[in-house]
């Protein structure tokens, strides 16, 4: 009885020492985190960041609007007098609704709409997030290296 108790105590102490050994070993391992604002991770090739657009590639087929599960995209166009050329009047993106699923990128027949590599997207005004004009070339200018 006493002997088993002593044995239990020793097993307990041994298990604690083993745990301490594990943490001690890890003390000398290389850090898994990065010194973030100074060193940044490269985004993967298929990374889905903010929605972006090559305006001249768009053929106004409305596929992205139809597939978008959250209705985050707004598109409207008007047809010119010659009944052939169409012009985009509004193409905005609501970053608040977007769920970054990438369906629009997948479905686009001309690869006009795509998801870029930006992940540090913050705005000073909440309203700016709701209507990001995809036609503008300066939509992500405020982001570091935000040139599409």
């Amino acid at each position: 009885m006493l002997l088993t108790n002593i044995k239990r105590i020793f097993i307990g102490i041994y298990s604690i020492l083993k745990g301490l050994k594990v943490t001690f070993k890890n003390m000398f391992k290389k850090s898994v985190t990065l010194n973030y604002p100074i060193i940044k991770q490269d985004m993967k090739e298929r990374f889905r960041g903010m929605v972006d657009l090559y305006p001249d590639k768009c053929v106004i087929c409305y596929q992205c609007i139809k597939i978008c599960p959250t209705a985050a995209l707004d598109l409207a166009h008007k047809t010119l007098e010659d009944n052939k050329t169409k012009n985009i009047t509004i193409f905005t993106f609501n970053a608040e609704l977007c769920c970054f699923c990438g369906f629009c990128e997948e479905i686009c027949p001309t690869d006009a709409i795509f998801l870029n590599k930006m992940y540090e997207v913050s705005y000073f005004d909440h309203k700016d997030l709701l209507k990001i004009d995809l036609m503008s070339s300066e939509k992500y200018k405020h982001v570091d290296g935000g040139v599409s």
Binding site: Y62, K66, C68, A71, L73, D74, L75, A76, I90, L97
Partner: protein
């Protein structure tokens, strides 16, 4: 085990019950639900009420029970059809405790009252709500099924 075997066994046990036998499910009259459920659990070995839900068919409501028998590897779909005038059904939570919260959920989202349920309160929505969101006729001013974007309107 097959649906038809089960239907036969239930019919033998309760000759007075009108059982609607479909290829994928059995429809049990509302009045006989508790008896049939009791029989299924105690004699046919359906240990678990795996899922309990309801379907709003606009003109009627279906309460759907998925009962599972571990020994026979068989999932039984049991349905009870209730009319919209009388949205009540007998609770099976005394047989399967798992039905307790699932019934509360159905009560919350469909407004079907489960009789003799130990604690029938709303589970997801606030207690002071009066709506039942999963009904097909659910309407609220702030509820938009799926926002329509600008371009598709015209």
């Amino acid at each position: 085990m097959q649906n038809s075997d089960l239907a036969l066994q239930i019919k033998n046990k309760f000759p007075s019950i009108v059982l609607d036998e479909q290829p994928n499910f059995l429809v049990v009259p509302k009045t006989a639900l508790l008896d049939v459920a009791c029989f299924l659990k105690s004699e046919l070995g359906f240990e678990t009420c795996h899922c309990l839900t309801a379907v709003d068919r606009k003109d009627k409501m279906e309460v759907v029970y998925h009962l599972y028998s571990f020994s026979n590897h068989f999932m039984l779909t049991l349905k009870v059809i209730i009319s919209l005038d009388d949205l009540t059904v007998e609770s099976v939570s005394s047989l399967w405790r798992s039905a307790d919260w699932l019934e509360r959920e159905v009560f919350d989202l469909f407004g079907i009252r489960f009789l003799n349920h130990p604690d029938l309160r709303r589970i997801m929505n606030p207690d002071n709500w009066t709506d039942h969101p999963l009904r097909k006729d659910f309407k609220r001013e702030d509820f938009i099924p799926r926002p329509v974007t600008l371009g598709l309107k015209g």
